[in-house]
Assembly symmetry: C2
Homo-oligomer: 251 residues x 2
Amino acid sequence: MSERIYTAGLVVIGDEILSGRTHDKNIAQVASWLQVQGIRLAEVRVVPDVIERIVEAVNALREANDYLFTTGGIGPTHDDITVDAVAEALGVDVIVHPTAREILENYYADKGGITDARLRMARVPKGAELIANRMSGAPGIKIGNVHLMAGVPHITAGMLDALTGTLQGGKPLIAETVGCWTPESEVADILRQVEQTHASCQIGSYPFFREGRVGANFVVRSTDRGELKSCVDSLCDGLASAGFDFTPGGI
Amino acid sequence: MSERIYTAGLVVIGDEILSGRTHDKNIAQVASWLQVQGIRLAEVRVVPDVIERIVEAVNALREANDYLFTTGGIGPTHDDITVDAVAEALGVDVIVHPTAREILENYYADKGGITDARLRMARVPKGAELIANRMSGAPGIKIGNVHLMAGVPHITAGMLDALTGTLQGGKPLIAETVGCWTPESEVADILRQVEQTHASCQIGSYPFFREGRVGANFVVRSTDRGELKSCVDSLCDGLASAGFDFTPGGI
């Protein structure tokens, strides 16, 4: 019986990532969170603060996946254009969401009150629901399979937390790692053979260079715990027979 | 006179990034390097170790940009399929590059010698040149406007270094930052007005939360040093007139 696999796309919006000024933290954060929900991150696109580029990426990835997430561009300033871009991608108007407005009015009541700029954060594509934001006032936005989240990582984290358990997923992909202080080129044949005999598992080989030595971690992934164990056992047997030292759990 | 703007795309290849296991370091590294070359990173796509997905991303971004870079998937193991994918994208065969073979034979001479797995790293799309790799044996690959680089960040860094000054670029985008311990929503109007009166500059607003307080950095970008200075001066004047404390250089 083949499992239904759920996938997601992620669009990271922001000139600051493309300029190299800011190191993105949301890809890894969203990827790890999706794993736990039983959803696979199938593709990420990082695009600049340009409406047409966001529209194109949003349409490509929302159609190709069960879910789409965006990070960035939902704040109060002129470069925050994600809501407009997603509305355009979906062919709907932008409206002020009454609950979002209320949330912002309350949040800013003792911080100088609501202003036009702050009210921008209550704008949503027509038909959208809100995603709770317990870190700061402005909520995230959910419309259809599209989830608009903040760009600031700790706020994104709060929004992911609010979404936890609300999205239909499949069996989570589980992984086990075996590490070796050996150049991956020496074990390539073993990896290939083991993967070929365990069709439901994938083996990734991730070389590293640490403390002046090379090595690699081999990550075995599967949705089936039994198959995963059998594949890891075969890999360890193969490495042992060929005389390699290895570290279950990875290095 | 309008400047010719040179752009690049980046395709990051690797299940390890999409699974959240590895935090990507190459996006920021490639982005920063491109800035100095006078080339703008226009889009990044992170795709899994699947030939068709790599082909699709490579073709989309090499056609839309002056240059394309890829990171990852050029090692010796079964999951290293970038060369095959790029050859397919370009409609050329995969061959063993004689110089790459020689480099690998020399590199591995005192490390157990060449093997079939290691020879995989001499495979290139037909017509390709090599990019020097002074960190480890296997070279990077350049074919047309496509540059295939390693996934391990310090090896990627060496390959970028080897490419420095070899790509035609435009005027570099220069940036100056002004920071404020103020919620960005309070200065949104000032930002918008200043940007509107300085058409050749873009202003990005990057909020943060540190030491229990919110603030934002405003990054002004332009290819023209004079315009940049004038825009930064206007921004500082605007912030000062409205009574905000600000920090030239950013916080």
